[in-house]
């Protein structure tokens, strides 16, 4: 303290003489000692381990429960079960505290409770004002022990999860993170599994109850409590509250090995609505348990750790190529991490940024770092260590996390010693040994049109399909009779197109009525469908004016007045599928289709023959045995708005024959039994 006063005195005295003291002329006093809190530990007979730290600064108490469980344990066809179980535990309330009652109780007291299950761990937490602790602790324990899992909350969680799935391709970063993991661990790996519409549908209430029951048991639990309490008193309360939890059996988390083969690939996800490329590149990383772990951390800091790193300096500050850039060789505790370099840069600079980043990795391998760089990096790490102990909850959390991950209590101190001992040679050695810039997989999520051919120099660009998988068809997959199928197919074809008639296209003039949320909309017009070319041209008179829709060669355009718009690919696909599925198309080229006779079905007074035509998504025609003409067809199609399949049914009537072609002049289409559209034809021409 005396030294400090003298120093201050000198500084003040010196002020009028010195214009501005340089930062490196400052002398720092000793740092005040760090007060390490006492962590009180005890165990219950049912296996629960408790860690307590008193912190009287604010009248709050925080409880954090860590549970040994995780999504890792869930079978592939139920991916999402763990996280949804974690969600519904809280959302659904418990037996004694139903959701609405619990929510009111908590919010009236400004208290928080949460539950979660992640990939490799699960848990729950509660944060309350200390005066409410005793009232709320029983509710918290009941939530852990007896969650109610009401069906309506499970349905809500499913709806929300599916909405989340439908949004997963909206954000570049999310796409990049997911697809890069797929490249490294493979898309069938437990480490990359995605929750899909179908896996959500597969999850039942019983699955959740079972999953919870197996894992939320005493032998899997660690509880940390920090806040304004008296330790002895708290221990008594905890014993009482947690004592009734079953011991259960400890969960065994087995992390499968990763079999990685180094390869060089260049991959692209096209996202036409962005002007920046999200670049991720790298390869497999390593494990935490590795004598080189401290040296690798020093290397990571120099390569990509924040404002001082080489990537930041070069790619951002010097070249101005990116706002965000970084990279590190990742070391996980239970399975290999990833070596990953990332940046976001304008489309036109994509290759420049990739090259600049890889050059920095190579430089780190080829040239030793400077003594100053090493010392600065160590200083940065060692001088900021004090922040590791700047709150009691942080100290408690580190202790519990080490325990959970099987790390020794002094794991961090060992890292500190390792970093202190790291040399310039160590950094170069680990840079050479662990990073392979010549064998990286590159992933670019960006605007393909703007990027152009920049990526070709890295190899054959592999364009990734990130279409969200739709649930499998709900229709039963029974097999029918193929021979009879061919027979009925021939009968239908000959009823629709008279043998000897060569039909290439048909042109119809008529009205179409579409049922929309705004009511019925009617348009009249002329539609020409060419079945050989799978193309369609429609000229429609709408209230907005004449619209021309043209689909040909796998592309589509819409023209309104002099303005022309491209049609989205999904819509073009839909038009083409409709043509392919139509009875006319089937009749014209029946040798190309595979048909099955599925028996008969009586609808109204008539017994119809069911003829299933096998496309990617099959369509079933209901034939009138007397005329062999289809009276109805059904197929199942994915509706992205609903996140599920819907049944599309079309009824055909007013059959009229023109130039050897028999055509239904009136059709009505229903989606899930709701009328969606209808059409009536006034005239028809063949091969116009």
């Amino acid at each position: 303290m005396k030294r400090l006063t003298i120093f201050l005195f000198i500084a003040l005295f010196a002020l009028p003489i010195m214009a501005q003291k340089r930062y490196d002329e400052i002398e720092y006093p000793e740092l005040n000692p760090i007060n390490m809190p006492e962590i009180e530990e005890f165990n219950l007979d049912n296996g629960i381990k408790f860690y307590l730290v008193e912190d009287k600064e604010l009248p709050l108490i925080n409880v954090r429960v860590t549970v040994k469980t995780g999504g890792l344990l869930v079978p592939a066809n139920k991916t999402g079960l763990a996280s949804m179980t974690g969600q519904v535990m809280r959302e659904g309330g418990s037996e004694n505290y139903p959701a609405d009652q619990l929510n009111t109780l908590l919010e009236d007291n400004a208290a928080f409770m949460s539950t979660f299950i992640g990939f490799g761990s699960g848990g729950a937490s509660m944060n309350v004002l200390k005066e409410d602790f005793e009232t709320l602790l029983p509710a918290f324990v009941d939530l852990l022990q007896n969650p109610a899992f009401p069906q309506e909350k499970i349905d809500l969680a499913k709806t929300q999860t599916k909405s989340g799935i439908s949004r997963r391709n909206d954000d570049q970063q999310q796409i990049a993170g997911r697809e890069f993991q797929n490249l490294i661990y493979g898309d069938n790996s437990v480490y990359t599994r995605q929750t899909e519409y179908e896996t959500v549908d597969n999850i039942t209430r019983e699955d959740m109850i079972e999953f919870h029951k197996n894992h939320f048991v005493g032998s899997n639990m660690t509880v940390g409590i920090v806040g304004d309490f008296d330790t002895d008193d708290m221990k008594r309360k905890l014993r009482e509250a947690f004592g009734s939890l079953p011991t259960g059996s400890p969960t065994n988390l087995l992390y499968p090995e990763v079999d990685y083969e180094f390869e060089t690939t260049i991959n692209l996800v096209d996202k036409p609505d962005v002007n920046q490329s999200y670049v991720t590149m790298g390869h497999i990383g390593g494990l935490r348990e590795n004598p080189d772990y401290p040296a690798i951390q020093v290397m990571n800091q120099i390569l990509g750790g924040g404002f001082s790193s080489r990537l930041f300096q070069e790619v951002r500050t010097n070249l101005g190529l990116a706002y965000s850039v970084g990279g590190s060789y990742g070391s996980n505790i239970n399975y290999p991490g990833t070596f990953r370099l990332t940046t976001m840069t304008s489309s036109s600079q994509t290759a420049e940024a990739i090259d600049a980043i890889l050059a920095e990795v190579k430089k780190l391998q080829e040239e030793p770092i400077t003594e100053k760089e090493l010392q600065d990096t160590k200083d940065r790490f060692l001088n900021s260590l004090v922040f590791r102990y700047d709150s009691k909850s942080q100290i408690l959390n580190e202790r519990i996390n080490n325990e959970y991950n099987g790390l020794s209590q002094d794991a961090f101190d060992e890292l500190v010693e390792g970093i202190k001992a790291t040399t310039i040679e160590d950094v170069q050695r680990v840079a050479r040994e662990y990073m392979k810039p010549e064998q990286v997989q590159i992933l670019v999520v960006g605007n393909k049109a703007e990027i152009g051919d920049q990526l070709n120099k890295y190899g054959n660009v592999n364009e990734l399909d990130i279409t969200i998988p739709q649930p499998a068809s709900d229709e039963p997959q029974e097999a029918g009779d193929a021979a009879q199928g061919q027979e009925w197919l021939k009968k239908m074809a000959e009823a629709v197109v008279e043998p000897g008639t060569d039909v290439e296209s048909i042109t119809t003039v008529g009205d179409q009525t579409i049922n929309s949320p705004m009511g019925e909309i009617s348009v009249s017009g002329t539609v020409t469908i060419n079945f050989k070319e799978n193309s369609q041209n429609a000229v429609l008179n709408t209230p907005q004016g004449k619209i021309t829709i043209n689909v040909a060669d796998g592309k589509g355009t819409q023209k309104l007045g002099s303005q022309e718009f491209p049609m989205p690919p999904a819509q073009v696909q839909q038009v083409q599928n409709e043509i392919k599925r139509s009875y006319m198309s089937i009749a014209i080229d029946r040798s190309a289709v595979d048909a099955e006779y599925m028996g008969t079905e009586t609808i109204g007074d008539t017994e119809y023959v069911k003829l299933k035509i096998n496309f990617e998504s099959p369509v079933t025609y209901y034939l009138d045995p007397a005329t062999s003409l289809p009276m109805m067809s059904t197929y199942s199609q994915f509706n992205p708005q609903a996140g599920g399949n819907q049944t599309v049914k079309t009824e055909y009537s007013d059959w009229t024959t023109v130039d050897g072609v028999t055509y239904a002049f009136v059709t009505t289409t229903y989606a899930d039994d709701e009328k969606a559209s209808s059409s009536s034809t006034e005239s028809l021409e063949v091969n116009k």
Partner: protein, 501 residues
């Protein structure tokens, strides 16, 4: 008193509740009166020191009363560009020879200004433009040879600095980081130096970094695009309608001369408040403050924003067609933080959308399952000037935006009919009070909260005194502000929709 009747017991309980409510406020205010030391230097620079001796660390927070709203027309984004420049060093940090570097920087800026002026002509001379551009690049290269990259940030990090960053909003710019508390003097030294001696080093390269930040946050992000468009539609006159990151062409048009001008006007001591929280001695902090900031030029008071948003003449609506799933914003023009209705609108947003018991959550998320997410809050995009009460809605996948929108209006209409209860109001108050308490346990939060509150409301005590105003808001007030502000004519509705639909 041994016996009480039932009704007096209830009355006592209610009184007790009110007492404890203002009691907490008084208790904390008293506690912090002891921990807080305030002083203002002769040049007008204000300091708030909050002692917290639990751990030998401290957080430093500089709040500058300047943001996107203060930018001149044609230079949107300049507050943010200046914020980036504040990390580029000083006259001796980040350079090997400032005297020579400065000459190169001045020449570079002159060449850029020439190029810019030529490029805006109706018939620009391409040979001349090329000549100016070559000149600009030559000087840029020349200036680069003196640069010591990121030295300023590195000094902080080598000394154990953490959480080093800055941000720019519509109303403010702030700079902050934490240090081991024995190194407090380093913060004074560096902070005073960077705001006394800005260099505009690497200005034009950094503008490209800023442009990439814009690309990331706005151009390539569906929500960013929606918000930028929303503000541009909602505001006709007031600068809240302009993007803080700046329009792309304004980023191009901004020169070092513009940035200098901006700095001269707004980075004056009377426009800056500093908060320091942690294991520090206030007397020593005051000595350091005099020593390092005492000679910061006083300057003229910063110019003020005079434009007021005119009354809206009718509902405004727009949609952005794109490839992403739909999101909707509904905003109503409201009031500034200084207005007596501000807290009532805050409470209203809190009551209808905060927590699982709130009306919007219960009805739209749980019962009808229309929304994946819904929220309402007051004070967007700032609070210094008349701002907006904003509702954000993310529909579930089988839900039409129209259905969701109508349901939100139904809930708002019911509030106007007086459907809110005392229980809901009390609950919101309790949660706001607890929220304030929870915010008191970390240095960064304390320093930023106290300094920004002083800047915006003239006194850090408003952190706690705000509870008095919240206590005064009645159910009738909530009904009245809903009727007054949440009207169709006063509304802007914007959404992203899928191109196919």
């Amino acid at each position: 008193m041994k016996y009480t009747t039932r009704s007096t017991a209830i009355l006592l309980l209610m009184l007790g509740f009110l007492f404890s409510f203002s009691g907490v406020q008084a208790q904390y205010l008293e506690e912090f009166e002891e921990k807080v030391t305030e002083f203002t230097l002769d040049n007008g620079l204000h300091f708030i020191i909050i002692e917290r001796h639990d751990a030998p660390v401290a957080s430093f927070y500089t709040h500058v009363n300047v943001g996107g709203v203060n930018e001149p027309v044609g230079n949107t984004g300049i507050a943010h560009i200046f914020e980036h420049m504040a990390f580029k060093g000083t006259h001796y940090i980040g350079t090997t020879n400032w005297e020579e570097e400065k000459v190169a920087i001045d020449n570079m800026d002159q060449a850029y200004q020439n190029w810019l002026r030529e490029s805006y002509k109706t018939d620009p001379d391409s040979a001349l433009m090329e000549q100016y551009w070559d000149e600009f690049q030559k000087y840029q290269e020349e200036s680069k040879q003196y640069v010591v990259n990121n030295e300023f940030s590195q000094i902080i990090q080598q000394n154990g600095g953490t959480g080093l960053n800055a941000s720019t909003g519509a109303d403010f710019t702030n700079y902050f980081y934490s240090l081991p508390s024995n190194r407090a003097e380093l913060w004074f030294n560096l902070e005073a130096d960077r705001f006394k001696n800005p260099t505009y080093r690497e200005f034009y390269v950094e503008k490209e970094v800023v442009r990439e930040e814009r690309n990331m946050r706005t151009e390539s992000n569906p929500i960013g695009r929606l918000i930028e468009e929303f503000l541009a539609v909602a505001y006709t006159a007031h600068p809240y309608g302009r993007p803080v990151v700046g329009w792309n062409s304004d980023i191009t048009a901004t020169t070092i001369a513009d940035a200098k001008d901006f700095y001269e006007k707004f980075y004056v001591p009377s426009n800056i408040t500093i908060g320091i929280a942690g294991d520090v001695d206030p007397d020593q902090m005051k000595e350091f403050a005099e020593m390092y900031f005492g000679d910061l030029r006083e300057g003229e008071p910063a110019p003020i924003v005079t434009t007021k948003e005119p009354e809206q003449r009718g509902e405004r609506r727009f949609t952005i067609e794109g490839n992403s799933q739909p999101i909707m914003l509904i905003g109503y023009h409201g009031v500034a933080e200084s207005h007596e209705d501000f807290e009532a609108l805050n409470l209203l947003g809190n009551i209808i959308s905060n927590g699982r018991t709130s009306r919007l959550y219960k009805k739209l998320v749980e019962e009808d399952q229309l929304a994946l997410q819904v929220g309402a809050f007051n004070g967007f995009p700032g609070s210094k000037y008349s701002s907006m009460f904003l509702t954000l809605a993310v529909p579930n996948m089988n839900v039409e935006l129209d259905t969701l929108e109508q349901s939100i209006y139904t809930e708002i209409e019911s509030v106007k009919e007086g459907v809110l209860t005392q229980e809901e109001l009390d609950r919101a108050r309790t949660n706001i009070r607890a929220g304030i308490i929870r915010g008191l346990n970390n240095n960064t939060g304390l320093a930023s909260n106290f300094a920004s509150t002083h800047n915006n409301q003239g006194d850090w005590r408003e952190v706690f005194l705000r509870l008095d105003r919240i206590n005064e808001v009645t159910l009738e007030d909530l009904q009245r502000v809903a009727r007054e502000y949440l009207t169709k004519d006063n509304r802007t509705v914007g959404a992203t929709v899928r191109a196919e639909s």
